[in-house]
């Protein structure tokens, strides 16, 4: 077995095996568990570095397993999958550190970390899926392994949220399954191909292809939280903070958004999708979701709910960028996979810290908290400003490329959507920042020192948001450096549009 046909499988197993091992370990064996977890995360990062350098140099990695004749499980690494793989493995690493600290002393940690690793493995599978069947398999697997995380607390509320989550995702999975099976029955086993595979098939009925497209997007839209399929996301906020963080930044919503990118670019091909007239409806749905999510966010007092609606809105930037014809918009959409990821995970880490250290769950309780938890709230501030789109933070670049891409595609209304959305972003983040830094605290903060010495909270809870907030600044400042997400996205897009 050479690296070129085993590397994708190795990357998958670097989290799958730790996950399975952790189930076998007892609940009390927490040192060994943490060791296994971090070893897996580190090995994965190293493997990903090998993959990045390989793919940049034009190397091809593919693992293929035949399930049935005419039915292959394919994992491969193209530029787009590398982007998602890198994002997931990097954020998995920091979230693992965070989760170890966050869940210290709580029950069922072995179950939690086991499913947590499986969840990342499923995301890896989604990222590296080489055809729609493989994508579907890991997409459904992701539903299964995130359910235990959503209901982790076992309260009546979290079980109810789990039911809602399953109802939405199972129904979405059903639609996706139907779409994929239909596509399989009319067009055969389609391996993802840059510039799309269906464009060369003149024999297929455009009406059927449009219907399949609608099914696929609806199925993916459930996880990507496109309106009207977004209802599960705010409810799933009952999960522990690390789950929310990873769910929002990487695993679930991104799986949906990433799927939309795959379907448009690598199954249908962007030119062919445009010819079929399918881009505009997608753009409209995405734009509506962006505005709707932001407006709903304005009205939430619970911090995690406000962040959840913010996710609804921000993830649709990816769909919007995908739905606009032209390389600039594509760059904006795809790079937002990464940018939204690092920003949103920072915000959720902070929300978790507030809840953990001070028992704060609502925005009206946050007055003056900046003085009590300065580092946490600094990272929160950076990430929120990034979300609003303040230069030179990550979010600015996404919006800039989306806006110019909209103009390039002749869809000037996109600018209006972006402006309104940014205003709304400011509308729901700036008041929070104002409370945090400028209002006097109205209660006495808990004297509980969960951190050691002078730290406001234990280092395992502080380091992750600091790292991700630095990334928010870093990917913005170094946007033009080689191997920055933006540069890499330009590489992806140049391949997608290459005729």
């Amino acid at each position: 077995m050479s690296l070129s046909n085993s590397l994708p499988a190795l990357i998958l197993f670097s989290s799958l095996l730790p996950g399975l091992l952790i189930f076998l370990l007892g609940e009390r064996n927490h040192r060994l568990r943490t060791l296994i977890n971090l070893t897996g995360a580190t090995v994965k990062l190293l493997l990903v570095v090998i993959m990045i350098t390989g793919v940049a140099g034009g190397q091809h990695y593919e693992t293929r397993l035949t399930l049935l004749p005419g039915m292959d499980l394919v994992l491969n690494a193209d530029a787009l999958s590398v982007l998602f793989v890198t994002l997931s493995s990097a954020l998995w690493f920091v979230t693992t550190i965070y989760a170890v600290g966050y869940l210290e002393g709580s029950p069922h940690r072995s179950r939690f970390f086991g499913f947590f690793s499986l969840c990342v493995s499923a995301t890896m599978g989604i990222a590296m899926a080489g055809n729609m069947l493989t994508f579907l398999i890991f997409y459904e697997l992701l539903t299964l392994v995130t359910y235990p995380l959503v209901v982790h607390r076992g309260t009546a509320e979290s079980l109810k949220a789990g039911r809602t989550y399953l109802t939405y995702t199972m129904a979405g999975g059903g639609l996706l399954l139907l779409g994929v099976a239909w596509l399989r029955a009319v067009a055969g086993p389609l391996d993802f191909t840059e510039t799309g595979v269906l464009s060369s098939r003149g024999d297929l009925d455009p009406a059927v292809l449009s219907m399949i497209f609608a099914l696929l997007i609806a199925g993916l839209g459930v996880k990507a939280a496109l309106v009207p399929f977004h209802g599960w996301l705010p409810k799933a906020m009952v999960a522990p903070a690390p789950v929310s963080a990873l769910l929002h930044a990487v695993a679930v919503v991104k799986a949906g958004a990433f799927g939309i990118v795959r379907v448009v670019y690598d199954v249908y091909g962007i030119e062919f999708t445009a010819q079929l007239g399918l881009l505009t409806p997608l753009a409209v749905v995405a734009a509506f979701t962006i505005i709707y999510g932001s407006i709903k966010a304005l009205y939430q007092d619970e911090l995690k709910k406000r962040l959840a609606y913010s996710t609804v809105s921000q993830v649709s930037y990816i769909a919007l960028g995908t739905a606009l014809f032209g390389p600039t918009a594509s760059v904006g959409g795809i790079v937002h996979l990464v940018h939204q990821g690092v920003m949103k995970i920072t915000l959720f880490f902070c929300a978790g810290n507030l809840a953990e250290a001070q028992g704060i769950h609502h925005i009206h309780q946050m007055n003056g908290i900046g003085r009590r938890m300065p580092l946490t709230m600094t990272t929160f501030t950076i990430a929120s400003l990034g979300m609003i789109g303040v230069p030179p933070l990550a979010g600015f670049f996404s919006k800039w490329y989306l806006g110019s891409g909209g103009l390039e595609a002749g869809q000037d209304w996109v600018i209006a959507v972006l402006i309104v959305s940014s205003l709304l972003n400011a509308g729901y983040f700036l008041p929070v920042l104002y409370r945090v830094w400028f209002l006097p605290s109205d209660g006495s903060w808990s004297k509980r020192q969960s951190g050691s010495g002078c730290l406001e909270i234990h280092w395992t809870l502080l380091l992750p948001p600091v790292i991700t907030a630095s990334l928010v600044v870093g990917v913005g400042l170094l946007a033009n450096a080689p191997f920055s997400p933006l540069e890499w996205t330009r590489l992806i897009v140049s391949r997608e549009y290459d005729q």
Partner: protein, 495 residues
């Protein structure tokens, strides 16, 4: 067609081994468990080597005692039979190991004494059924299987189990009678009951139609297809757990197996055409009716039994698809039989463990029990994944093949049934899985060693149902050997 030597050596073991063991277990009750377990293991070995012979050498025929048909008894093992034999061997082995602990823990030694001979007898009947190559032999094996099954259900003890067993007996008798009438008609028409060369005298006509209808009706009773399913849930839910596993995983499927033989081997091509939608439509109703009742069930075993009614529906749903595309739907249905047998076997074993540990199987009160039995709950969840048809699992591959067949032939109603049926299954499975996550504690303990004998066989079956999702290629190759339908396993329009 000269029978190969491997077949000569192996085929008697399929029958002689369990039958001989059944007599021994009856004569020496104190050794019954050891005899039973040993013959389950040996049966699995024999079946495996037989299947590998089929895989390399193709269909195997054997004339018992050297007398060829029409005088003697012909036995035949093709790909389909091999898959069924393998399924039987696997489920019997796991459920047998489970039974070894189940009865000693349940504290009923008398039950165990009766159990092993009947159990081995049932295994012999199933083995013979899958290799029988003529209609009359099928009848005999059907009766043997039915009698053993009824006796095993009655072992559940108590009023409900006896009522269920009695009803099961009556339905079985009606079914067999109908079937036998049909066989009589066929014999009167053609002077032969051979499945291997049936078509000469059997021209499609009213008499042949009548015979086929009678036989099919009898078998539909035994297969528990809606609306003939009424006897199934009480019988399967009130039997001892290893028996329930065997009944749901194999016995009803055996009737389906005979129907496949009748409809695709006995009936000349095209005869089925007019009636093909009937099983399909009944199957569709069964999927929903079974699923709906499973969702409403308050007892775990009842839920699993109704789930069997629902899953059997898919098998019959596949019939019209088989007529249209051949192997795609055929492969899907047979793979589903296999995946369902593994998953449903695991599930009934899980239910038995829960019943022993908690003393009840009310779904609403399972929370604490689930906490005590993590491995058992995991087995339930894995089996559930395959039963719903979620990837990666054998159930997923089977449903994927059926989806492909239904979409390719543009049978949108079947597509809808497959999709909604899976969602319904997800609803009733996750209702139970959610119990594992409820905050709760308090339940009585049972010995750790004894629990291992209950927990691991169920886990093994459930894990196999999942692994089948990765190793189905071998089965798909086996299936095509001597299959009466043709075509690719997956279809697409060629560019």
């Amino acid at each position: 067609m000269t029978p190969l030597s491997a077949m000569e050596d192996l085929w008697p073991a399929l029958l002689a081994l369990p039958l001989g063991a059944a007599y021994l277990a009856y004569l020496i009750p104190s050794w019954a468990k050891r005899i039973g377990l040993l013959s389950c293991v040996l049966n699995a070995v024999v079946t495996l080597s037989l299947a590998s012979t089929i895989h390399t050498d193709g269909v195997q025929l054997h004339a018992v005692g050297g007398w060829a048909a029409p005088l003697g008894i012909m036995l035949r093992v093709d790909g389909l039979a091999a898959v069924m034999l393998l399924t039987t061997a696997l489920v019997t082995l796991a459920a047998g190991v489970y039974a070894g602990s189940y009865f000693s823990l349940g504290g009923n030694q008398n039950q165990e004494r009766g159990f092993w001979p009947l159990w081995l007898f049932l295994l012999a009947a199933l083995n013979l059924l899958f290799v029988a190559a003529d209609l009359f032999n099928l009848y005999v094996t059907l009766e043997l299987m039915g009698i053993a099954a009824v006796a095993l259900v009655a072992m559940g003890g108590g009023r409900t189990a006896l009522t269920a067993a009695l009803r099961y007996l009556l339905v079985g008798l009606i079914g067999s009678l109908c079937y036998l009438l049909g066989v009589g008609l066929i014999y009167a028409m053609s002077g032969s009951v051979d499945l291997l060369q049936p078509t000469d005298a059997l021209l499609p006509g009213p008499a042949f139609g009548m015979a086929l209808a009678l036989m099919s009706a009898g078998l539909l009773f035994k297969a528990g297809l809606f609306p003939f399913h009424f006897w199934l849930p009480p019988a399967h839910a009130n039997a001892p757990a290893p028996v329930s596993a065997m009944l749901s995983a194999l016995v009803v499927e055996a009737a389906f197996y005979i129907l496949l033989r009748l409809w695709f081997e006995l009936a000349p091509a095209g005869t089925l055409y007019t009636a093909q939608y009937l099983p399909g439509v009944l199957g569709a109703v069964a999927v929903f009716w079974g699923g709906w009742n499973a969702l409403r069930a308050t007892r775990l075993k009842m839920m699993i039994a109704y789930s069997t009614v629902s899953q059997l529906g898919y098998l019959f749903l596949a019939i019209p698809l088989m007529v249209k595309v051949g192997l795609a739907a055929w492969g899907g249905a047979v793979l589903l039989v296999l995946a369902h047998a593994l998953a449903k076997g695991a599930m009934f074993l899980v239910a038995g463990t829960v019943l022993l540990v908690a003393g009840h199987d009310r779904i609403a009160d399972l929370a604490g029990t689930a906490k005590r039995l993590p491995l058992t709950m995991l087995s339930f969840a894995l089996a559930g994944v395959s039963l719903i048809g979620l990837p990666p699992s054998g159930g997923f591959l089977a449903k994927w093949l059926l989806f492909n067949a239904a979409i390719y032939t543009e049978q949108w109603w079947a597509v809808l049934v497959l999709l909604l049926g899976s969602l319904l299954a997800a609803a009733y499975i996750f209702k139970v899985i959610a119990c594992a996550f409820v905050q709760h504690d308090s339940t009585k303990r049972i010995g750790a060693d004894a629990a291992a004998g209950l927990e691991w066989p169920a886990f093994a079956l459930a894990l196999l149902a999942i692994l089948l999702g990765f190793f189905a290629s071998a089965f798909s190759e086996l299936l095509t050997i001597g299959s009466p339908v043709v075509g690719p396993l997956l279809n697409e329009r060629s560019p």
